[in-house]
Symmetry: C2
Subunit: 315 residues, 2 copies
């Protein structure tokens, strides 16, 4: 059965929102697990606008504590509370966020009806944030003015797809199906060993999405995001603002393209556009010159990573 | 010369924003002095959407520390900073707001380029917040779940309008013009005393706007808002939710109408609508049954108080 892997853009602006663009926020859906990545001001309104159900989000990841990446969080938590949430919410964040939330809840005399589990980032090295049977999420350090992390969402190896016709004709016992899905060879009732490849149609490639939040151009990030099917990389400025990009620890669109190329990404989404670019065409053009599979983030748009069947042996 | 007195609605929703309605925020313009009243999440985006220039705002008044009245403040301050503001900003607010702002600025390593002057509300009695030669602003206590204030914006008595034809024909000396504007009689060169009323066309009535933020129905507020030309009163619920209004210390639309009637207001704006009312028609209808001069707040709309000439003697 097909498994969802989607990234929806809720905000594409850098520090200054415009009347058209909101600060950073993305909703990641992997097999109906919903992760909100960053939560700029207005994120809860964007969720409503695009008909995403906020209560399905059980994990919120905040890359860093610049306002355009988290000023919408306390409002979203309040709305989750008002709408009757009881389910635990997991927050992954740099040090300080709990203090910021607590003080605002205290002064508004709000006792949230649901528990929050706080998970503080490791700012020095990659860290496993979440894992279940179908996927895992890791953080990794980014190079920005203040402590900042990127994130990788990765499917676990998918089960081998059973060739029902073959399995039926050879009368493979039901008890062997688990082994087949794991890629193992099976033994029939008469003792014959049948190689897995003869009974399965291969499996779909595990997909991955990497999110590079605010960062200066820094190729040391490649080790964490190598071969991502989909890569988001900030592209605050065009070439004309190269110096400003450096002093503010941001990247240009061309640099985002270079990262995607070196990471051998499948596709690149650029975003975090400076408010000075009313039209993001120039940013897209400069990124495309480095990496042809680039798109400029569009708010309200969902980018899917398609499943791709690969015929492979178990390692 | 005509003097502006306008109220622009930026948000009309109660605690839960909808895709159509934002949390509370209003921009008051009295003679080109701009006051922002409350600052729910997304206020800076609303300001941009409706083409108001945020840097013209020198005074921000926060009624109370429920999130839907101030979660947009720290984002607005950050944007003012990024856009190069240097001018002092005055904040009028309940205790705690400075702490909430400071902690967020600290973790984002932001040192605002402009000074903020913090003015803590008096929660027990009315207080003069601002005064200059044309107007004054007062706060007054409201009856809500947490400490909360309303605000009155009031023009000072306007100058008498000089009847140029009369003044010229009687050769009133220029030195007497100040006295005339103040409503005084004048003495001509030959010693004749001319009554002010013969040389002026009267003056325009000083206008006032009162803002009743979140409050339970409470007529003790009348003393502060009596005779307001324009009154905003929250109207979170319709009659069907009367009990809920009481337990949450909010008002129904009908109660807002009753307050306007007893205050002998000129016109009533209702707002702070619960998200359960997709259509605010029922709220408007119930308020109208008590007070015919009622409108339901519309985001992006500006309500002007017209100047009204009154022929009057100096008291």
């Amino acid at each position: 059965m097909a498994q969802t892997f989607e990234v929806s853009i809720l905000g594409s602006s850098s520090a200054l929102p415009t009347s058209q663009r909101h600060p950073t926020a993305q909703l990641i859906n992997v097999a109906e697990r919903y992760f909100l990545v960053d939560c700029g001001e207005g994120t809860q309104i964007q969720l409503r606008r695009y008909h995403f159900r906020m209560q399905r989000i059980n994990h919120i990841l905040i890359s860093h504590l610049h306002g355009d990446h988290f000023f919408g969080l306390v409002g979203l938590l309040s709305s989750m509370h008002l709408l009757g949430r009881v389910q635990t919410l997991h927050l992954y964040h740099p040090p300080g966020l709990k203090e910021i939330i607590d003080i605002q809840m205290r002064y508004s005399c709000t006792a949230l009806k649901f528990p929050i589990e706080y998970h503080v980032h490791d700012l020095e090295q990659p860290k496993l944030l979440f894992e279940d049977k179908v996927m895992e999420v890791h953080s990794f350090p980014l190079n920005h003015r203040i402590p900042c992390c990127g994130f990788v969402f990765r499917e676990k190896p998918r089960p081998f797809l059973i060739n029902k016709e073959k399995v039926t004709s050879l009368r493979v016992p039901v008890s062997q199906m688990g082994a087949l899905k794991r890629g193992e060879d099976v033994t029939l009732a008469d003792g014959t060993i049948v190689p897995n490849a003869e009974l399965t149609c291969g499996r779909t490639k595990p997909r991955s999405y990497s999110f590079c939040s605010d960062t200066i151009f820094d190729l040391s990030v490649i080790q964490y995001i190598k071969n991502s099917d989909l890569l988001y990389h900030e592209a605050t400025f065009a070439d004309d603002m190269m110096e400003r990009a450096k002093t503010t620890f941001h990247s240009t669109a061309r640099e985002a393209g270079q990262v995607a190329r070196q990471a051998e990404a499948g596709k690149l989404i650029i975003g975090h556009f400076s408010a000075r670019y009313h039209d993001t065409g120039i940013l897209l053009q400069e990124a495309l010159s480095e990496f042809p599979e680039t798109v400029a983030a569009e708010e309200g748009k969902t980018y899917s990573i398609d499943e791709q069947l690969i015929v492979q042996k178990k390692e």
